[in-house]
């Protein structure tokens, strides 16, 4: 481990475990521009020689320790998968981008037909790829989040209060995100996006267990559904709102999380165990993609494949637009 930061004992142990199990070195770096929640750049996913965790400068105590722990678990899962089986990520190619964008376009048309104020065509075209990539980001992050948080919760009980604060903050940020585009994003995608975060937060609320994590308490738009009777919820007044629909879809996703994440969160650490967590994450990702009818939107492939795909996003976007609209799109 390379760092001059003071670290609490359980975090130092955690880092030792990462380095021991994966036979690798971990570098901790502080950066004033570091994003909230920190960043993990690992040798298994990126074309780098060292594993680095970049921490925001303002996190100097236990907040920093929790961020490190979370990324350590993530690194162990990726590393174990790379060493034990085949580490794959949800990547994309020209064909999958076309499929995803075409579906988003069809759903947009349904929404636009009902709108008084239509979205300008150019904006609509731009939105297709933005939404596609938003789900690419979500699906590569969200299924792993409850796995990592559950593991940290059991492995490092000293950090539970810290974890609770950061999860509350994360939950609120995710639910507030893209709110200003609520009327622009096709309803289906707005709802699915919010449902994923809703399901994650509710899963963590009863797994950790922390009642105060519940989106039904913390998210202003969802508060009205807390303790609301089924009969009341079935009235037209509620069923037409995106947030009601997010709750309905989110409850189904929560059932998936509950089913897939029946894991022993606190066994002795080993590569086999972290590889098992990886397989669990893959299964959950597949189930969520199936539920959202997005199975053919992405493809499991190597991180190298994904890096190459990310370099070709402009090409893929243009090719997909040509595929959907033909000659209406200029060369």
């Amino acid at each position: 481990m390379k760092t001059n930061m003071p670290l609490s004992k359980p975090v130092r142990k955690m880092i030792d475990q990462v380095e021991g199990l994966l036979d690798t070195e971990l570098l901790l770096v502080r950066n004033a521009e570091g994003v909230t929640g920190g960043t993990l750049i690992d040798i298994y996913t990126y074309d780098v020689e060292k594993n680095i965790i970049i921490l925001p400068s303002q996190n100097i105590g236990l907040l920093k320790d929790f961020i490190i722990s979370k990324h350590c678990v993530s690194l162990l899962i990726r590393g174990a998968a790379a060493k034990k089986s085949h580490y794959r990520v949800c990547s994309f190619n020209q064909k999958t981008v076309s499929k995803g964008m075409r579906q988003i376009y069809i759903d947009s048309l349904k929404d636009e037909a009902k709108k008084v104020k239509k979205l300008p065509v150019q904006k609509l075209l731009e939105m297709l790829f933005i939404i596609y990539m938003q789900f690419h980001g979500n699906i590569n992050e969200l299924p792993w989040n409850p796995i990592i948080n559950s593991r940290v919760y059991y492995k490092l009980p000293q950090l539970r209060k810290t974890q609770l604060y950061l999860l509350l903050k994360e939950g609120k940020t995710d639910m507030d995100c893209s709110m200003e585009f609520e009327d622009i994003i096709p309803r289906r995608y707005f709802v699915l996006d919010k449902s994923m975060f809703y399901a994650r937060d509710l899963f963590l609320a009863h797994t950790l267990p922390a009642d105060s994590l519940s989106p039904l308490i913390n998210i202003p738009q969802m508060k009205k559904f807390d303790h609301l009777e089924v009969k009341e919820m079935m009235t037209t007044r509620w069923t037409h709102t995106a947030w009601y629909q997010s709750k309905v879809f989110g409850d189904t996703m929560l059932a998936m999380l509950d089913k897939d994440l029946k894991v022993n969160w606190n066994p002795t650490a080993s590569l086999d165990y972290y590889n098992e967590l990886y397989e669990t994450g893959v299964k959950l990702t597949d189930d969520l993609l199936g539920f959202m009818t997005m199975k053919d939107w992405f493809v499991w492939d190597t991180p190298r494949h994904q890096r190459a795909a990310l370099e070709k996003v402009d090409v893929y976007e243009h090719a997909a637009l040509k595929d959907i609209f033909g000659d209406l799109i200029a060369e």
């Binding site: 001059n4 003071p6 670290l7 609490s8 004992k9 004033a32 909230t36 303002q58 996190n59 100097i60 105590g61 236990l62 907040l63 000293q158 209060k161 810290t162 604060y165 903050k169």
Partner: protein, 158 residues
């Protein structure tokens, strides 16, 4: 008569300010050079010693950091930041009991020192006093959350 602007500048404060700007950009060697110039002009400036100690800590020159903190403290016994940095440097040198004494003094002078409470927690934990350590960690977390909320608010305002 107005004093010309150039004459109004305090060269020591100016050098320390420049050093701090370098330190914020993690250019610690440049920062140290500026603090040194400041200390050559005014070796009785506790802030100069304390800031150089801070840069030494970042460059892992812990023994020199302790020495600088002691110079700063000798000039101002109630300099909380110097006590805190001394504690941090001593911790890195694995002098746990001395580190604990230094941060305890820092916290008596400034009870809002997040790093101070955090180092105190680590030191107590190392000494097997885990209940007391939890108390120190809890206080550190409380202060860090307040700082984090403030930082987020500033980001939103921007």
């Amino acid at each position: 008569m107005q004093v010309p602007k150039r004459m109004a500048v305090n060269p020591v404060a100016d050098l320390i300010r420049k050093g701090n700007a370098y330190a914020r950009r993690t250019k610690y060697h440049e920062a140290i050079a500026h603090y040194e110039k400041a200390l050559q002009i005014d070796p009785r400036n506790p802030e100069g010693w304390c800031m150089r100690a801070s840069a030494y800590i970042e460059t892992e020159r812990y023994a020199e950091a302790v020495a600088d903190c002691e110079r700063a403290i000798s000039l101002n016994q109630n300099y909380a930041e110097a006590w805190s940095k001394k504690g941090r440097a001593l911790y890195q040198l694995e002098k746990i009991n001395e580190a604990l004494a230094a941060v305890s003094r820092a916290l008596a002078l400034n009870s809002n020192d997040i790093t101070g409470w955090y180092i105190k927690g680590i030191c107590l934990d190392e000494l097997g006093k885990s209940n007391e350590a939890q108390g120190a960690f809890a206080r550190s977390l409380e202060l860090e959350i307040i700082l984090d909320i403030d930082t987020e608010k500033k980001k939103i305002k921007k």
